[in-house]
Amino acid sequence: MKKIKTLVLFCLLALTTVLCACTDDKAKNSGSITIGIAQDIDDSLDPHKMVAAGTKEIFFNVFEGLVKPDSNGNIVPAVAESVEVSEDKLCYTFKLRNGIKFHDGNAVTIEDLEYSINKFAGRDGGEPVSSAFLNVSEVNVISDDTIEIRLASADPAFLSYLASVEAAIIPKSNATPDTVCIGTGPYKYVSRSPLQNVVFERFDEYWGEGGDIKNVTFKICTNADTIAMELEGGTIDMCIHLTKGQKMQLDKENFTIYEGTMNLVQALYLNHSFEPFNDVNVRQAMNYVCDAQEIMDYVSDGAGSKIGTSIYPSFGKYFDESLTSVYDVNVDKAKELMAKSAYPDGFDMTITVPSNYEQHVDTALVLKNQLALIGINASIEKVDWDTWINDVYLGRNYESTVIGVDAANLSANALLSRFTSEAGDNFTNYNNPAYDEAFNNAVNATDDETATKYFKECARILNSDAANVYIQDLPDFVAINKKFEGYSFYPLYVLDLTKIKTVK
């Protein structure tokens, strides 16, 4: 009898263990979420060819570089387990993470690393994803799990270039990265359908903590007017980059609204080749008369952050708070400066704005009224996005424009290089030898401290020279159905799915 009792007890124990294992297994969430995004994902699936900020924003979950940014703007190891930088800052040695796998189940090898680095740095005969990688002089495989990258000249921002989706590690065996999407991130790509959706699924063999929600569908919602209705109706659970108007339509009972910033430098960019704008008095007068706070009140209910120069607050150490108050509104001073300039009676100008960005169009409307106070008669010309790219950005055939400029990576370089006189993307035709010198000093600095000092100097020059009328880093609203929680903003244009969890 005792034997039977023991046997039953043992069986029960075994059963409990098995069942426990089952429940434990089921504890991994099998839920799904649908996230509304405003633009279609029509880019190449090759991370090294991705162009649109909106594409990279969500593929941040699929691809990882040797290192990646975290939500505080720090650079943390990803595919590489650790990184060592030599004393002369010219050699970076990466150790491959042990046991890391691609989405197709294959282990990441040192050959994949070598192949990827050569591919995105343009060393395989193709184009580098960023001119910063032209600085790579050698890529050497040291052992089965160690690889080193040598630079021609020291660059304190080198790791931040490696932390972008454009510098992702992809398998060498994938012959068609354009259409077959394999990465190492916490989510794997499943499918996409033009103008309908993009589907991701949690990658259960991810090396890190990974995501909570199993299935993620990004629904393309091109019609801004129906987004709030779709949220309320339950077709989408979450939506990023909402406008003030959309946010206000939502029922606070059902949605959590997160407020952050878009990580853009929104400004009235001035074409310095256009006659009145080559006069510093005119530019300063315009800065004194333009009230960023009034614009924020009108465009986004007072939300947003003042900037004062071409650096936005999430850039942390490069951002100089004091620059935001240099041009506090002072109409008398503005009038004085105008009187000193060659245009005491004001002049006519055109603000060209891309019509698809409601915030920029609204900003231009407020600016028009503010500029009228000092006799500047601004007219607004709305153009479609492709025309804007062609005429304003590439053709530099415009007088002024309102736009938000973003950063490709977390180095100040990404925001400041375009104002050097020789830069190919210097669409404002800004030309200041003092700026060029400070910028060169920053780029050639061997230590981070000196680089930061000179980058801040650059930012100060842009401010004191009133290169443009700097306005704000636009506010960004994210709405999530209360069934979910845990969105977090990044200092870059990134949506991290692993932070989102189902409310138990």
Partner: protein, 313 residues
Amino acid sequence: MGKYIIKKFILLIITLIITSFVIFLIFELVPGDPVMDKLGTRATPEAVAALREKWGLNQPFLLRYFKFLLGIFTLDFGTSYTYGISVASLLKEKIIINLCMSLMALAIVILISFPLGVYTAKHTGGLSDKIISPLNQAAMSIPSFVLGLLITFLFGIVLRWFRPGGYVSYKTDFFGFLYYLIFPSFALAIPKIAMCIRLLKGNILEEASKDYSITAYARGNNTTGLLYRHVLKNAVMPTVTFIGMIAADMICSGIVIEQVFSVPGLGQILINSISTRDFPVVEAEVLMIALFIMVISFITDVIHVIIDPRVRI
């Protein structure tokens, strides 16, 4: 009949060639560049030049146009710049969506407006006429997209008969797909129903006051017999023409309604392709719409022959 078809066919080809040329020309003249759209603002000049070469955008305008025309005749519309897949496969699903939506809307128009039109004509001045006529007036004056928003709000948010934006592909759930399309179809159909009722009623009343109707009355026909045997046949002709026009218009109105109901149809892809300068897609789609409209007008003509033996084509 054979001669007529040949004539129509030649006309169709000429129309399509003119349309395609106009679109080609417009795309040549407007600013913007598909290459820049694809590569983004940080593209190097070398990459831009390479892609331009790949897409053949360096060739002279007329040469490109003739190459394109040649493609059409071999039913090859090329590859979408934006998506990198063939235009035909890109548009296939969209065509099915719009065709289903338009056909459903058309069926709704015919099924509702004919009986109601005849009924109100028969009971002019009665209570039903007094109720239907003002409703009709209201339905006619509300644009489809406003109606779309009202329908979404009432049936989607308040009554929860459908989930706004909850479109499902016909590949995953065909009946769910049809069910979802009922709502945009009604938004498309309601203003047209109102117009049809009014037109049909007017025509019936006009025909009924003509000499032949009075004669038929004199010969002892009752109102119902007269209406169905004599008057309706004549009164229905202008309505058939009108329905042909509606069918063509459904595709165009559909572009707006799609946006309201978030249906990923031809309209969304057309607007998107125009803004990204995805020329092959725009060209193929506009040609298809032109073709569709011509085919509808042809079908309308044939129906005329069937209804009215006096008409010869």
